[in-house]
Symmetry: C2
Subunit: 304 residues, 2 copies
Amino acid sequence: MNKFELHILGCGSALPTMKHVPSAQVLNIREKLFLIDCGEGTQLEFRRARLSFGRLSHIFISHLHGDHCFGLIGLISTLGLLGRTGNLTIHAVAELEEVLRPQLNFFCQGMSYKVIIESFDPTKNEVIYEDRSVKVSTIPLDHRMPCAGFLFEEADYDLNLKSDMIRFYDIPVKDLPDIKKGKDFIMASGEVIPNSRLTHPKVHARKYAYCSDTAYKEDIVPIIKDADLLYHEATFLEDNAARAQITRHSTARQAATIAKMANVKKLMIGHYSSRYDDDSLFKKEAQEIFPHVILANEAIVEKL
Amino acid sequence: MNKFELHILGCGSALPTMKHVPSAQVLNIREKLFLIDCGEGTQLEFRRARLSFGRLSHIFISHLHGDHCFGLIGLISTLGLLGRTGNLTIHAVAELEEVLRPQLNFFCQGMSYKVIIESFDPTKNEVIYEDRSVKVSTIPLDHRMPCAGFLFEEADYDLNLKSDMIRFYDIPVKDLPDIKKGKDFIMASGEVIPNSRLTHPKVHARKYAYCSDTAYKEDIVPIIKDADLLYHEATFLEDNAARAQITRHSTARQAATIAKMANVKKLMIGHYSSRYDDDSLFKKEAQEIFPHVILANEAIVEKL
């Protein structure tokens, strides 16, 4: 199966702790790496995870709080020192241009590659990136500043042909594209060969939804419906539900409720507040609502 | 003895490695913490070293290459989240204002304390900070951009009185300040009590010199003369002396030559290029010139 796996590089919240570094994840889709958020120290975690800087493709920044973007300038500089030549595109709210560009102009003069900032509207659910393997769309979230999550949907690939059957029926090359799309084949004799005899069963197109940072927001359920994996922030436990409400964050229970409503296969929680010493409490609270809970940590690689 | 100790938080060079993070050091002088350079991830290393954010006093930035200053914005934000109220002064070249202030305006609105940037002229050797315990002056260095090292000189404290002797001669309180400054005492009888009988021997005023980043520069020798500890960058070994020359860095041998000429007690080297796997080669090369060499690493706490 084609690679579609998630590396957690950081899953803490704003205050650094001895256990967790700020938010950053890498989604590896067929060896193309997509970076999601980029807190301070991301480039170090990227290296620790033994990921290849050369395979870094696009970067997606959910919002402009420091724990989600302070690592950008260091990472960009390092890619320059390493001699990158291909453009690097960062998808973020428009304000990133005004805050990052002056730093690039000062620190990254004469760099061997270009940084392109493509802005999105975080209040809309729309496609912001697409290639042959994946489509990325925004998930409007509810935080103290404009903020969007990201839904990564694997491309709906063509069917794979059963080569022995193609040879057996002696099907001309010109007809193969239609068969890959699901069409039956009609022989010169008029006999119909059903598509299912000519192709392997459809491969499930995988979906990963990233939702950090956000208050409890039921509106996102239809967007993330049936995802194979949902990462949903759980900054607090229910003992701090009032504080979650004020700061526009979620509790573990709320994250699990969204996961259940959206019928996702698995829920990963993270963005833990530094006030809690024991991460397992988050899992315990979430599992009262939804069984398949993964606690994010900086060593996790989750295959979808 | 009063505390005067150096914590190495980072001693790598521009490219991050699995062994070293970028430049940052903390000098603890009587529980007042002075941060010297602030590469990405400094706030994490600060915490790992179990230093108290509340005791952080002034910050000194040698120059504006990213591996010496990218950690500032994260550290400043964290101090804000922790509710700091006292001003934080950063000593740096004037350009820091133009590159850091827009970030502060964007990310640190409504913060509970003020960040003051005090600029210095890196081409001059002058005092840029002084309090009751320490005097800090700039050391003009030779790098690809304006850059200065820092000399920390412990204050020349008053002499400590021998209280039993003060009582024995029944010396009035009004005369004690003069005695602490080194004066003899004249009794009503005309008898002269020499100062050495009334005070403990003078405590040595310690000196720490920080020199990173720089090409070999003999001019600095008179400034750092007789320092108790010299940190001098050694980005390269002699096998890359030509590259050191071009990039305005030093080799381990050059660092040791400066240490020897300046008659310092100990030399610490760091800022190792990522191209070398074995740090011990730096020590070996330096020790051919100067015997007392310490290899910087992120766990070192050196008492002066």
